[in-house]
């Protein structure tokens, strides 16, 4: 399996991260050094995750024979409906054929590699032509404006990735640590903690928090989980391929924040020229972050035909998944 084409879409409402967003100059400087985001995008009130994914899909699928798409996977933590699947809605909007299957993956920051893993399994077991992965995230809907831990970190985006089968055998490294529950979550709006009158009233001034509930993040907890699981996951992944890190040309970690990416780079001793970091524009876009970084690296001519690209998604759960893809210019 290989990535044939990628596209992404940022909503039209940019939020420039400036000194005015912070208490003082030093707080701003800290944010720039360690979160690394200069502009974020926010979806319009009536835009959903599938709208953002749809816009990315329209860019990706221009001039493509849609009947060649045999499966659609949609990855999002902020889906349009509890039912039907948002993939089903997108399938209909795009006019995909009835024999094209659909599936939602509400996983989060590891969503893209998990979607790749699902696609790889489908390609390996069936004779499929193309698989389309769509991703859409509107984390801005869960950000409380007074919560310093999550402000100016997350951005809304859509992404689209087209996959084709190949003879290359892929391996994946994945795992989960449920202790991560308290470090990153959105608790309201599900069966355990439904939206109740008290919650709705407490957020009357922030009505967007009533769509999915409020995001809560303990940055220290997430960093600790990342440093305790991801370096060993990278080495296990390399072992599966029989590669060393030296043989890898590019590393795309989930674009969580510069502090997390830098800490992993230092611990794994990865040379800077191999690191892909496009946090400056768009910020942490949950499952869209890796495909956006891939697309930008490609736009910036960083990939050469045959380059090995290690990708590793990790976050909410705490869950992770990664693989190594060979870049093919098409």
């Amino acid at each position: 399996m290989f990535v044939e084409k990628t596209a992404y879409y940022f909503p039209e409402r940019p939020i420039h991260v400036t000194e005015a967003c912070f208490e003082n100059e030093q707080q701003f400087a800290l944010h720039q050094s360690y979160v690394g985001t200069t502009v974020l995008y926010q979806a319009a009130c009536d835009q959903t995750a599938s709208d953002l994914a749809m816009n990315a899909a329209l860019i990706l699928l221009r001039d493509l024979d849609l009947s060649s798409i045999d499966f659609l996977v949609f990855s999002s933590l902020t889906r349009d409906y509890h039912a039907p699947s948002t993939a089903s809605v997108l399938h209909h909007k795009l006019g995909l054929k009835a024999s094209c299957g659909v599936m939602d993956l509400p996983i989060g920051c590891a969503g893209f590699p998990m979607a790749l893993m699902s696609a790889n399994g489908l390609f390996n077991t069936m004779d499929l032509n193309r698989i389309l992965i769509l991703l859409g995230e509107v984390p801005s809907r869960s950000v409380h404006p007074n919560d310093q831990a999550v402000n100016f970190v997350f951005g809304d985006a859509g992404a689209a990735v087209l996959l084709k089968p190949s003879n290359a055998a892929l391996s994946f490294e994945f795992g989960n640590d449920g202790n991560g529950f308290s470090s990153l979550n959105v608790l309201r709006g599900g069966a355990r903690f439904p939206m109740d009158v008290a919650y709705l009233e407490s957020n009357a001034a922030f009505p967007w928090l009533n769509q999915f509930g409020q995001l809560s993040m303990d940055g220290h907890g997430i960093l600790k989980l990342t440093l305790s699981h991801i370096p060993s996951a990278v080495f296990s992944l390399l072992d599966k391929y029989g590669f060393t890190l030296d043989q890898i040309d590019h590393v795309i970690f989930h674009q969580a924040s510069t502090i997390v990416i830098d800490a992993l780079q230092r611990k794994l001793n990865i040379p800077s020229h191999k690191m892909i970091n496009y946090l400056a524009e768009g910020g942490n876009t949950i499952s869209c972050s890796i495909p956006i970084a891939w697309a930008k690296a490609e736009d910036n001519k960083r990939f050469k035909d045959g380059d090995l690209v290690l990708i590793m998604g990790f976050g909410v759960g705490f869950s992770w998944c990664g693989t190594v893809l060979t870049y093919r210019s098409t």
């Binding site: 030093q26 960093l223 440093l227 305790s228 502090i259 800490a263 611990k267």
Partner: protein, 79 residues
């Protein structure tokens, strides 16, 4: 493990923040511009240099640079 080396590592981590002249008795949260981001820097540095991953629980007891040094030493011995 020497406290002077430890302080040098800390200073290196914070140098671009304009924080300097750290001593064993420096109270971490009194450093100019101290915020939650510094905790993350500390945790990543200590993991990298000393192979100790500190949790929020551990850090609750830490006030000064010396407290942090003692904690890291203690955790290294527990390994």
């Amino acid at each position: 493990m020497e406290i002077n080396t430890f302080i040098a590592h800390l200073s290196e981590e914070f140098e671009d923040l304009g924080v300097f002249a750290l001593s064993p008795s420096t109270v971490l949260r009194d450093m100019p511009g101290w915020n939650s981001m510094h905790i993350l820097l500390l945790v990543a540095m200590i993991d990298f240099r000393y192979q100790v991953l500190l949790s929020g629980e551990h850090l609750k007891t830490v006030e000064t640079v010396n407290d942090l040094f003692d904690l890291v030493k203690q955790k290294q011995h527990e390994h």
